[in-house]
Amino acid sequence: MKLSAIGALLAGSAIAAPFAAMAQTEIQFWHAFTGRLGELVAEQVETFNASQSDYTVVASHKGNYSETLNAGIAAFRAGEQPHILMVFEVGTATMMAAEGAVKPVYEVMAENDAPFDPDAYIGAVKGYYTTEDGQMLSLPFNSSTPVLWVNRDALAAAGIDPDTDLSTWEQVGTVLDTLKEAGSTCPLTTAWQSWIHLENLSAYHDVPFATLDNGFGGLGTELAFNGPVQVAHVGAMGQWAQDGKFIYAGRRNEGGANFRAGECALFTESSAGYAGIKAEAQFDFDVRPLPYWSGVEGAPQNTIIGGASLWVMEGKDTADYQGVAEFLSFLSSTPIQAKWHQDTGYLPITTEAGEATREAGFYDENPGTDVAVIQMTTNEPTGNSKGLRLGSFDQIRGIIDEELEAVWAGDKDAQTALDSAVQRGDQLLRRFEQANR
């Protein structure tokens, strides 16, 4: 067995996890949540532990998404992997390709006679984690989708009706002009530029991000986001950046601070930004569906998710998987899901949890919280809007970030930048294909 020094170090922390009563089987669960989300996860785990006496789930925080995945991989190499590992959507292809390291969720459920109905899950959510023949490989945990956040006060200050229609990018463009003329220093900003302005843009306009159904069809996939729709959008955003109408704040969700402080009028960000914006914003805000280009046929299709899912790791005692199956069933249950959805702004993973939330009157009391659900579920996903399954995707996103930054800075035009991103990303895809042959 190969054992890298770093692997051994990271794995060492697994041994240090607290010991539970000996009679109970311990289920290790590694996740990437801190702060409020971390507390909510801890609460779910406590509720489960209190609900039965055979198993104790031990949740451990392992850093951010990338770090958690790395910790899981290093631990597997050292033979110290957890039972359940949280992996962000970007790592899906990496996990899927790791046959022998992961145990598909449908298999875990079937082998342990746990109640499991794949049809209960929202199509656009589960599709991301399902094989071509419909088998669910991991359990969706936290999923969100991008929406448009609007600072109503900022619009009113610029003499714009806060209820103005912002369904299309054309309409947004007009509003940006007015905002700029009225002296706004930040008419539009964004978080997660690659996820929102390329990955979701492609799905929403039903154009491919990559060939072979965005990689669902196999490892031979090639990037295709340098098509006319994407080039036109990035070109328009680039022009807005040059005109001072689109303010770029950073690769992750740095723009959120500007929006919450009231500096920015419009903000494209995950629906899960809800908790933070609600807590901090000192202005009247609302949530709108992500805009689309009205000139593109097939738009709006549906947006795709971001977030993480839970993967079950191989190599544990057969008896342990019974506990894993019970925990996963517990997480999918309607009350737990409905609460999670309402507390966090993440999507419910089952249709039933969404309905329970509606019946409880939550959407009426918190207008706009259902925008993301509607946006994802109105249309049946197509090959272009089911999700993305690309190897080395974290790095490809890094490349996209770099090339987009070149456009915002005015160093490159949209076509050149996207062509370059496709070419560089394809090299990584070929390496990934080679590594997983």
């Binding site: 597997f76 390291a101 601070a257 500007n258 974290d394 770099e402 090339e403």
Partner: protein, 293 residues
């Protein structure tokens, strides 16, 4: 006559060097050997399978213009970090050396920044220069300069250099200060009597006498710039924008631990090993000749 102490037999000398050899073997030769071995393969992240590719990883790297650019970036970055951390340190040390009163306080204050971890220093500087809420970027804005290291590669480089060099100034200051104390007063006084002014004395007498320390700091600071500035770059720029602050070590991390491409990462480690080895040889062969002990 030269005096030499020799050991009788082999056991004792071997025993005496054994700890050093053991440490080198465990912490250097073994991992370096692993890196060389792994650089010949493309493994999958979980270690389930490996594809032998010979020198394929090296070919892939060297044909990548961004990787070649990373050498230039690293050279620029380490030169700047070394200069920015050594020149002000020497200046401060010379000034501190002249102080009659309060030298202790002054010295203590100057040493403080060294106690701050690179990643924390990175966060500090990142906040001061944050494009929206940073104090310094706000003042720059007042002066009509639009600071944006998120998009401007030159500004990003400047920021990571300053953030990396800042804490090192303290370290270098300590060494320079100690070395200055060792410069014999009599030599300086003699020069002063001959009519040499302060800066003249400094360049013709003090600086040459400081050369062993300067050389030592040069080597140490270059190694620091190569390997230990990782935390600063990670927190401030993550290698961006457009890879303008991606130094070689950062790329090893990004490809290996973000991209899970361990083959490429291992190959980069091997290249880095060769580069740093060559650099050390150059430093000792050419620069050390000009050092007077």
């Amino acid at each position: 006559m030269e005096k030499r102490v020799t050991f009788k037999g082999w056991l004792l000398p071997l025993l005496l060097i054994a700890p050093q050899v053991a440490i080198s073997a465990v912490f250097f030769f073994y991992p370096a050997g692993q890196a060389i071995w792994q650089s010949l393969f493309i493994p999958d992240p979980f270690g389930l399978s490996m594809q032998y590719v010979g020198l394929g990883n090296f070919e892939y790297l060297l044909s990548d213009p961004f990787y070649r650019q990373s050498f230039v970036t690293t050279a620029v970055f380490s030169t700047l970090v070394t200069l920015v951390s050594m020149v002000p340190a020497l200046f401060l040390a010379v000034m501190a050396d002249r102080l009659l009163k309060g030298a202790g306080v002054y010295r203590t204050l100057l040493i403080w920044p060294y106690a701050i971890a690179p990643a924390v220093a990175g966060v500090l500087w990142m906040f001061m220069f944050n494009t929206r809420v940073g104090v310094i970027s706000w003042y720059l804005g007042q002066l009509g300069y639009d600071w944006n290291h998120v998009l401007n590669g030159g500004e990003a480089m400047g920021l990571v250099v300053v953030a990396s060099a800042w804490g090192r100034i303290s370290y270098n200051f300590l060494f320079f200060f100690a070395a200055l104390q060792a410069v014999p007063r009599s030599v300086i006084e003699a020069a002063a009597i001959d009519g040499a002014r302060f800066w003249r004395r400094f360049f013709t007498i003090v600086l040459p006498l400081l050369s062993p320390v300067t050389f030592f700091l040069l080597v140490v600071n270059v190694v620091y710039a190569f390997f230990e500035t990782f935390g600063v770059i990670h927190t401030i720029t993550s290698g961006g924008p457009q890879q303008s602050t991606t130094i070689l070590v950062y790329k090893v991390f990004a490809d290996g631990f973000v991209g899970q491409d361990l083959g490429s990462s291992a190959a980069q480690s091997v290249i880095l090993l060769v580069v740093v080895g060559a650099l050390t040889v150059v430093q000792f062969k050419y620069i050390e000749k000009r050092v007077h002990y």
